[in-house]
Amino acid sequence: MMTLNDKKQKMPMLTMLSPITSMLIFLVVIPLIYVLVLSFCKTNEYYQVMFTFSFDNYKNLLSPSYFQVYMNSIVIAAITTVICIVLGYPFAYYIVKQPPKIRTILYMLVIIPFWTNSLIRIYGWKSFLGASGLLNNLFVWLGITHKPLELLFNRGAVVLGMTYTLFPFMVLPLYTAIEKLDLTLIEASYDLGARKVNTFLHVILPLTSSGIFAGAIMVFIPTLGFFFVSDILGGGKSDMIGNLIERQFGSANNWPLGSALSIILILLTLIMVRLYTKAGGKLEDLG
């Protein structure tokens, strides 16, 4: 790339880049470092933070009750991710296969639900699945069941809510990856004698794997932190790391412990992103 006249560029360059730099330093870097510092602190009996160095928070987090929450978080995130891939891939493929005009409309239809507040939509699920909700009314009316089923407040309901909230984040990168796919490569595969299944497994799938990986990251990581979904649909019976953190910064008022939990969540995120980049994923695809 050619650079513009370099001597006289110092001033404009500083004007353009100092806002973003200060924003990143003051609103991202310093806060995260501060959380790291907090995670080694303690609280006194008045819930005030004491700046003394200790590993106590991390030791506490090794207890089995917390472990159960970690496992529950990872299981829910993993199931959500798998469901999103299994449903999202054929769905994205279907959209891409439509003629351009219909495709644009179908694509917009995936995005439109976003424009209603996510809490409201989750509440919509709650009132749909609730004891006196539409679905139970329908079941009773059809005679499938005599008294309303308990559809809420279990892990399944949380997975449903997470899948619902994050499904578009899986579909959009998949859509992009499949759209980029070169049709002639599929023709070449047919030409070389590969049937549909083999063409899919050996040509289409590898070429669109970047979309799957990007989608998986964009579903898995947020799932760990979406505390309100497990709050509303899980009713506190299916706690995830996000709920624990929220409680420490809220009702429990133990910020150091919450910070330590956050550090664990950050580490989990970093591991996932590392796995993703190791598998050949690009950070740009997550933007």
Binding site: M23, L27, L32, Y94, K97, M108, P113, Y123, G124, K126
Partner: protein, 271 residues
């Protein structure tokens, strides 16, 4: 762009199964929205407004007698506008600067930009809360706006960057060559050329801000945005007037976005 659309007639059987599948996915995506819209017409007046008891427009009128709800919506708009303007300003300068210059620390900025995008929102929320508490910035509109700027600016930059990758710096050289100084070059050439990117980046920032629950939840102080108002009322059952307002917001955003999209497509066809 290469499309997967299959042109050979013998292979384009009507995808009946595919269509059914896609329809059920869309049903899944829109079902809770239908429930929200339906509830906004629910004549049931007792908490938690669970069962549907007939049809009424009442809530759309009552909505305007609920100052707490209206002011929360006002807060949401205020925060969304302010944070969008700020993040578009910062983001545009940054995206153009990073596209134009090579400098030390560019890759560091690049990497840092991904943090707010990749880490779970709750982390950004609690870390901003901690710092605001640490330096004793009173929590309220200001902290809400700052936090929204923090998470939406990277998205603005990424959107713009995608546009800029096809943008040729020669246009700017040409403008300067023809006697336009830096400010005129930016005003007459750079800005008009990247405007579609700025608009879609701004739109994204606005949508993200309006919808944000998690980060706002931690940094709001006593100020309630619309999503936080919803959160508050969810335990006791969301009142139908909230559903009514949600329905109106959905209609409004859909309308605005459809308008801008068609506008964007038009200006794209030009270039």
């Amino acid at each position: 762009m290469i499309f997967m659309h299959n042109t050979r007639p013998d292979r384009t059987r009507p995808h009946l199964i595919g269509t059914l599948f896609a329809c059920s996915i869309y049903l899944f995506l829109f079902l809770p929205i239908f429930v929200v819209i339906l509830n906004s017409f629910n004549a049931n007046k007792t908490k938690p407004y669970a069962t549907f008891k007939g049809f009424t427009f009442e809530w759309y009128i009552k909505l305007f007698d609920n100052p707490a709800l209206l002011s929360s919506f006002g807060n949401t708009l205020l925060v969304a506008f302010a944070s969008t303007v700020l993040s578009v300003l910062i983001g545009t300068l940054a995206a153009v600067g990073m596209h134009r210059y090579k400098f030390k620390g560019k890759s560091a900025i690049d990497a840092l930009l991904y943090i707010p995008v990749v880490i779970p929102e709750i982390i950004l929320g609690i870390s901003l809360l901690s710092v605001f508490a640490w330096v004793s910035i009173p929590r309220g509109l200001i902290t809400l706006i700052l936090s929204h700027v923090a998470f939406s600016t990277p998205f603005v930059i990424f959107t713009l960057r995608a546009r800029l990758s096809g943008y040729d710096l020669t246009f700017e050289e040409a403008a300067m060559d023809l006697g336009a100084n830096r400010i005129k070059t930016f005003a007459y050439v750079t800005l008009p050329l990247i405007l579609p990117g700025i608009l879609s980046g701004g739109l994204l920032a606005f949508t993200l801000s309006i919808d944000d629950v998690i980060i706002s939840y931690f940094v709001n102080g006593t100020v309630k945005t619309f999503p936080l108002k919803v959160m508050e009322s969810i335990k006791s059952g969301v009142a139908p007037d909230v559903n009514a307002l949600s329905t109106l917001i959905l209609l409004g955003t859909t309308g605005i976005v459809l308008l801008t999209q068609s506008g964007l497509f038009k200006s794209e066809a030009k270039s």
